[in-house]
Each structure stands twice: as structure tokens, then as C-alpha cells.
């Protein structure tokens, strides 16, 4: 047990899901995440668990609503345009306070786009693509090992906060194989007996609903949801700070792209420029406390994303009063050669430090 294996991100997620007691999976194929459903189809049938090749993503996410209300750990996986189809039900699940893990292995572009790596769904995942006031917990792995660790964490946070949780990665990480360990799920089980629907035996009947004709009750329900989000923002911010302690310049990047950024830090440090990397691991709650603290010292932040500047908004909201922020972005990630990034960063450095370079 617990030996290093060569694992694709997608398979790692599927294995971790089984390992931490996922009982239900519903999904519909779409590249670049289809291996998750393929792998689970066999593993779950063998174990007499619930697996349905749903007729659409709309059906899949609504099956998740039903399964989650029954108290079973529940997951679906999909990609960008198909996650868009799920948004109505995700909004319901937030209001219903149902734990569901949704894996989005992003593809590029609006509409159908293509299967290239991209981070274009940051906004949809963190702000929410559905209607009304709600938040989605959103975790961002950058290695295959983190795909495993964060699958465990996604199930845990979903149960703990009774909220859908998105595991957000790009096709690069989903498809890429690297050594990782399927370690044990480190999180405790959360008792759900106070709210799940199992039949009204020896207790009053229960209702799970988002419809609320009473204005006062609807208001207080949403206020209550936001109390929960406040707790999340208080307690669950997670990040990696790499070479940040003495850094003058800090790159902000998430997901697979942050790995390139680490290379850049070493490259510039060899040239005498103190560069660090700030990598949010939770995209919601965005780790603004640490980022703000870093902005008291470092005066230039370079936000790099495989999109046109989505996390950039959270970075700006957090630190624009303290530091300068530049942005490098391109919506399709196939381009991310180190040399291209260096060119772009050199240009930014020249603009900001004309003399010292």
C-alpha cells in the first residue's frame, strides 16, 4: 500500500475518490476528463456503488443532488462548456446546502473551444456561473499528488460546509502522468444524520428545498449561507508561498502554470532579482490574508494566467492599494514556454526598474 505510482491526474482523482468513500458518480463524457468516468465505471460496479452514464450533464448533476440528499459521498466530473450546463443545479445545491464534488478539467475558449490547457473557468468556478447569491468552494491542484490530496479535501470541505465544491484543473494536469502516492484520506468523517433524507422514521419529516415564498425566511436563509461563507473565508484559505520571504517581486499563479513560475523564480534569483511565487490553493476562499501581508513588503506583483485576467480581479481587490500589479495572460496554454514568459517578464521589469536592470 501507499507506494509511488505513475499516475495521470484524471486517474489519480478517480482513485482518491474511491479511496475516501465516494459512493456515487454520475457523468457524461467530455475530453479532457473522460478517463475519470471510464475508470470509475468499472471500479464502482465491482463494489456495488452507484454509477450512471447519465444522458446529459444536466441529468448527471441532478442525480448528484438526489444522491447527496441521501447522505452518500457524491461526485461528478466534466469540462468547461459542459460544466456550464450544470450551473442551474449547482445554484440549487448551494441553496439546498448539499455536499457535491464537481471536478472541472478545463478546456480552452468560450463555447466549445478546444481541449488545450486553459484556466478560463476561474470566474465561473469562484464567483459562480449560476443565479443568485452563493459561493462555491474551489480547490486548485498543481501536481498529480495534489490532485489526490485535494480530492480528499474537496470531499471533506463539501461535507463540512454542506456546499458544492469544485476541483479545478486544466487538461495538462488531467492528462499528465507523474509519480504520486495514493495516501490515506487524512480527514475525519462528518456526521450528516441531522439533515439527510432517509424516510421520516422516528422523527418529523424533512424537506430540502430552495423555493421560499416567504420574503423574511428567504432573506434569513441567504444571510445564513453567507455566515457559512464568512467562516470559510476565515478558516479555509490555503496557499503556497515559494521564496516569498525576501522577495521584491512576486508572481501570482495557480494550477499547473504555477509550476512554470517556480522555474522563473530560480532563473531570476540567479540574476540577482529576488522573485517569489504566491500560489492560491483555494481559489474560493481566495487567500487574501497572506497576499495582503506579502504586499506590505514586495512592491511589484506579476499575475500570470492562462486566461485574459480572471484571478487578476481578486489580486487587484486584495493588494492594489499597496503594490503595483502587472498581468501576463493568454487564454490557451499551449504557449507557455519559459522563454516567452521571460521575455514578457523582462519587459515588465524594464518598465518598472529602468535603471536597476
Amino acid at each position: 500500500m501507499n507506494q509511488k505510482e505513475l499516475l495521470k491526474g484524471n486517474i489519480a482523482i478517480a482513485k482518491a475518490a474511491i479511496n475516501c468513500g465516494c459512493k456515487c458518480y454520475f457523468g457524461y463524457p467530455i475530453t479532457p476528463q473522460t478517463e475519470i468516468g471510464e475508470y470509475l465505471s468499472n471500479e464502482m460496479e465491482k463494489r456495488n456503488l452507484a454509477y450512471v452514464c447519465a444522458e446529459s450533464e444536466i441529468a448527471a448533476i441532478n442525480m448528484c443532488i438526489g444522491a447527496s440528499s441521501s447522505g452518500a459521498k457524491t461526485m461528478t466530473s466534466s469540462s468547461s462548456c459542459a460544466v456550464s450546463l450544470m450551473q442551474e443545479a449547482i445554484s440549487y445545491a448551494c441553496s439546498d446546502e448539499l455536499p457535491i464534488v464537481i471536478v472541472n478539467v478545463m478546456r480552452a475558449g468560450p463555447g466549445q473551444g478546444y481541449i488545450y490547457p486553459s484556466q478560463g473557468d476561474y470566474d465561473q468556478s469562484t464567483i459562480g456561473g449560476g443565479n443568485g447569491d452563493y459561493r462555491i468552494i474551489c480547490l486548485s491542484p498543481s501536481t498529480v499528488q495534489e490532485c489526490i490530496d485535494m480530492t480528499y479535501k474537496a470531499f471533506y470541505l463539501a461535507q463540512k460546509y454542506k456546499n458544492p465544491t469544485i476541483l479545478l484543473l486544466d487538461g495538462l494536469l488531467g492528462q499528465m502522468a507523474e509519480p504520486a502516492i495514493i495516501n490515506d484520506n487524512p480527514y475525519e468523517e462528518i456526521d450528516n444524520s441531522s439533515w439527510v433524507l432517509k424516510g421520516a422514521k422516528n422523527r418529523p419529516s424533512r424537506q430540502i428545498n430552495s423555493l421560499e415564498p416567504n420574503q423574511t425566511k428567504l432573506n434569513s436563509h441567504i444571510f445564513k449561507m453567507f455566515e457559512k461563507y464568512k467562516q470559510l473565508e476565515e478558516n479555509e484559505q490555503d496557499y503556497e508561498d515559494f521564496m516569498c520571504d525576501d522577495a521584491d517581486i512576486i508572481i501570482c499563479a495557480f494550477g499547473s502554470l504555477a509550476r512554470c513560475a517556480k522555474d522563473l523564480c530560480s532563473y531570476y534569483r540567479q540574476k540577482g532579482i529576488k522573485m517569489g511565487l504566491f500560489r492560491p490553493k483555494t481559489l474560493y476562499p481566495f487567500p487574501n490574508k497572506k497576499l495582503e501581508e506579502l504586499s506590505l513588503r514586495a512592491k511589484l506583483f506579476i499575475d500570470i494566467e492562462m486566461n485574459m485576467g480572471q484571478m487578476l480581479r481578486d489580486v487587484r481587490l486584495t493588494i492594489s492599494h499597496n503594490a503595483k500589479i502587472s498581468f501576463i495572460g493568454k487564454p490557451v496554454g499551449d504557449w507557455l514556454k519559459k522563454e516567452e514568459l521571460i521575455d514578457a517578464i523582462d519587459k515588465i521589469l524594464k518598465e518598472n526598474y529602468a535603471t536597476s536592470l
Partner: protein, 253 residues
Amino acid sequence: MQQVYSTPKSIKKDSTFTFCAGCDHGLAIKLVAEVLDELNLRENTIAVASSGCSVFLYDFLDVDCIESPHGRACAVATGIKRAHRALNEEKFVFTYQGDGDFASIGLSESLHSALRGENISVICINNTNYGMTGGQMGPTTVLGQHTTTSPNGRNVKYHGYPIKTAEQIALCDGTCFSARVALCDIKNIINAKEQIKKCFEYQKQNLGFSFVEILSSCPTNWKLSPSDSHKKIKEELSEIYPLKVFKDIKEND
């Protein structure tokens, strides 16, 4: 004194139906409650109420209940049934949906649940319009019928044909029972209850997807009195939507 009637145990105490006068939703829910009582299912049931006038189910029915997004009740019910099985528990799961919910926006989820033979039951209220939103043309609106979005009457050339839901569901291999009933008079009410009971019993026996369509009145949107609404069902609508059993896996055997 002999007690000849009491409110079903599966109806919430002190609840008063809030449906429009003469609407059949209330009676349909009462029949469902009686059947749940008689089959001793109340404590083991999870009901799915969908968007539409049917959503108020959970205000009246004293069983565990979840609201589904508009049209997705069969998918939600699939998740519930399968999840409990994965947890080694067997629950009775049924949906209570409007015709627009089941046969229009949710047709994909409905049909595929029947095709898969999901072991769930569906009660579908056919009132030939979108009731909750104020009586627009729906998939079951009959030819010639005036609604707020077919103000000159539904006609084939402009609007196309309506769907015969119970007949369509009967065509699915995974369906074990499909029937259409009405609540327009005592005889039909008694028959409706029998068919609902059969529908629920078939799920208990693990036979597959069981379905009852209830031809129901909508006096407010039809702009008819309750008694004229029931007359319309008896004399006109049941001609177009025949009241019969379209599939019964036990009879066919």
C-alpha cells in the same frame, strides 16, 4: 361512535391545501397519501417535488421530500434510489410532477429514466397547460385549446401536435406500468387510487419504471368553474387522452 374517515397519516397535521378552488392537485396528493398509508410506506419514502404547482407537495405530505429543479425530478429520484442502494438501504422513491415538467423541459430525464428502467414511480399531473406560470401552452395543450400563448387556439400548422405521455412512456422497455387516470367523478377517483397503488406496488416489487398520468382540472387557467372543468375532462379531454392502462408488465406476461 364509529369513525368512517380520518386524514391520512401521510398528510401533515393541520395543513390546508392552498391550490385554486376546484384544482385536482389537492385530491391527487390525498390519494397518494392514502396509498402511502395503505402500503405502509410513509416512513421509508423520499418524495421528489418538481417546479410547478406540484412543488407544494412538501407543504402537505408528511414524508421526507426534496424539491427538484424544473424538469429534473426523475434524475434527482434516480440519484436518491441509487445512492441508497449504494449505502445498502432500500427506499421508496417517487416523483410528483406537472406535465410541462415531465414531458417538456424534463422529457430527456423522464424518458431516459424510463428507458433505463429506474426503479422509481412517477405521478404526473396533466392539466394541459403550464399552470403555475399562469396557463401558457404546454406540451399537452390540446388542439383548439386557448391559452395565454396560443390565444387563437392551438393549431397543428402553427404550434404542432401535443404529446400523449402515458402512451409514449409505455413504449419504453424499462417501463413496467403506465396508465392514465382522471379525477372527474367518484368512479374515476376510485380507479385512480387503484392505479396509483399498483404503480407504487410495482416499485416495491422491483419491476422497473412505473408511471401514472392524472388528467387534472385547472379551473383558474381554463376559465371554467370546477364542475365545468370536470365535465370537460369527462366529455372532451378523455376522448383525446384515453383513460386506460397502456402497459402492465404483469398483464402482458
